[in-house]
């Protein structure tokens, strides 16, 4: 995928030809004339990813002053910059698709008209919640991003994912260290993470999304490479033993290990909370969107000052 050697500005005479190109592992580049339906589908996906990085970065930011100790503060600070930086890169790629400008995407997000990941619609009340996000949610995000990266058909997105994945890997390491500290800490620390696990386990399950439909365009056009259930199941197989190993209880009374296959089977998922977050009416959606909007509004004078300066330089 690097460097680009093929000529730019390709076009395809039919959807069949375009899909055959994708099925052969072809990478679509911005100068190509791609089918409009594909352009919109890719745009929607990247826009949601960008929104989620931004809202995730703001969650992280809230914990900079509250993180215990200098090392954790530095870690939280850096993670905030990572997420906002990822959002910045993703908005560039999304805007380039010509569906919405960057400002239109931000306006829609702050007006509550756009989607962002379910996990950022909940309250983050304790350091335990923050650790649960770093450990459970970042791992879920990393696994879905890796699955997209593997087979992604849109060149600029695939390139950014490569970098995002490297950085999320570093977050994962920090998350593991933090959870270990609580797991091996005082009974109060252990209990704090257990309470957070009780709150975050099901949102983590929801994170992967409802069962993929057989005609899912994201799968067909090589944006996703694995179905939502496959990724959720892989995650469950990894995290159930890890959490048990730390001495934590997973808040699923129907969780069981299949005696023949040894695989972990979770109970039935209640999808109502996910639907609420998708309509921006989750437990903390309104406050989160309002906080993000007020940050944007408060910085309006900075943008105006920069625009004025840029116009003066251009005129000179």
């Amino acid at each position: 995928m690097n460097p680009i050697t093929e000529p730019q500005g390709r076009s395809w005479s039919s959807m069949e030809e375009f899909e055959a190109f994708l099925d052969n592992g072809g990478l679509v580049e911005p100068r190509d004339t791609m089918p409009d339906a594909y352009r919109h589908e890719v745009f929607k996906f990247i826009e949601m990813h960008a929104n989620s990085e931004l809202m995730g970065g703001l969650t992280e930011r809230d914990y900079i002053p509250r993180a215990p100790g200098m090392q954790r503060k530095l870690g939280t600070l850096a993670k905030t910059q990572d997420e906002i930086g990822h959002a910045h890169l993703l908005y560039m790629v999304a805007a380039d698709l010509g569906v919405k400008t960057r400002n239109e995407m931000l306006d829609d997000l702050y007006a509550g008209k756009s989607k962002f990941h379910n996990v950022f619609h909940y309250r983050v009340d304790t350091w335990g919640d923050q650790v649960a996000i770093a450990y459970l949610i970042d791992a879920a995000a990393l696994s879905t991003q890796q699955a997209v990266f593997k087979n992604c058909s849109y060149g600029p997105y695939k390139r950014i994912l490569k970098r995002i994945i490297s950085e999320e890997g570093f977050h994962m390491r920090q998350g593991e260290e933090m959870v270990m500290r609580l797991a091996e800490g005082t009974p109060r620390q252990h209990a704090m993470f257990q309470e957070s696990l009780d709150r975050w386990w099901w949102p983590a399950m929801h994170f992967f999304g409802p069962p993929s439909k057989p005609n899912d365009l994201l799968l067909r056009w090589h944006i996703k490479s694995a179905s939502n259930e496959e990724l959720r199941d892989k995650y469950v197989q990894k995290f159930v033993p890890l959490l048990h190993g730390y001495g934590f209880t997973i808040p699923d009374p129907d969780l069981r290990q299949d005696s023949e296959t040894g695989r972990w089977v979770i109970g039935e998922i209640d999808w109502e909370p996910l639907k609420d977050t998708q309509r921006n009416v989750g437990p903390d959606s309104a406050r989160r969107i309002a906080t993000a909007r007020s940050g944007w509004d408060d910085a309006a004078w900075v943008r105006e000052a920069l625009d004025t300066a840029a116009a003066k330089i251009e005129a000179a």
């Binding site: 690097n2 460097p3 680009i4 730019q8 580049e29 911005p30 100068r31 090392q71 530095l74 870690g75 600070l77 850096a78 993670k79 910059q81 990572d82 997420e83 906002i84 930086g85 990822h86 910045h88 890169l89 560039m92 790629v93 380039d96 060149g155 600029p156 390139r159 950014i160 490569k162 970098r163 490297s166 950085e167 890997g169 570093f170 390491r173």
Partner: protein, 153 residues
């Protein structure tokens, strides 16, 4: 064992450590290793941080200590981030520059210009002084329309 042989082994152990945020790119390739010395069974590693506030420093310190401690003949490892010299992107080795380019990151400008690591174009516009980390800025290639990251001086 002779000290210089041991020192070479310690150097190799230090060089084997990857940057936590650039898997596959070693801290030696990034130009972070200033000096490695061995006295008796004590190894001393002096590192130059890319940025003082870098949150990965603690992780790098531990990774280096663990890697060097595994060298036979070493009992004690001292890892220190030194005050000087100051790191600049020029310290990134040729191999490091190639590997960063594979990750769409430009280590060093060529004659003040950013050459796009994706398509080779020189029409790259700087967009933001900071990217996802304190050590990287964000630019955009007008030709292939890919975002590109640039190590900050």
């Amino acid at each position: 064992m002779r000290t210089d042989t041991l020192c070479a082994e310690v150097e190799a152990a230090v060089s084997a450590v990857s940057d936590p945020e650039f898997p596959g790119v070693s801290i030696a390739e990034l130009g972070m290793v200033e000096r490695v010395s061995v006295e008796g069974t004590t190894a001393r590693v002096e590192l130059v941080p890319t940025f003082l506030g870098c949150p990965a420093l603690d992780t790098i310190r531990r990774d280096v200590a663990a890697s060097v401690a595994a060298v036979a003949g070493i009992d004690r490892v001292e890892v220190e981030f030194v005050d000087g010299p100051v790191w600049t992107p020029v310290r990134v080795t040729a191999a490091g520059r190639r590997k960063l380019a594979d990750g769409f990151t430009v280590a060093v400008r060529s004659e003040q210009k950013i050459i796009c690591p994706v398509c080779g174009s020189g029409r790259v516009e700087e967009r933001s002084a900071f990217g996802p980390t304190a050590c990287r800025a964000v630019a955009y290639c007008e030709d292939c329309r890919n975002p590109v990251e640039v190590m900050r001086q």
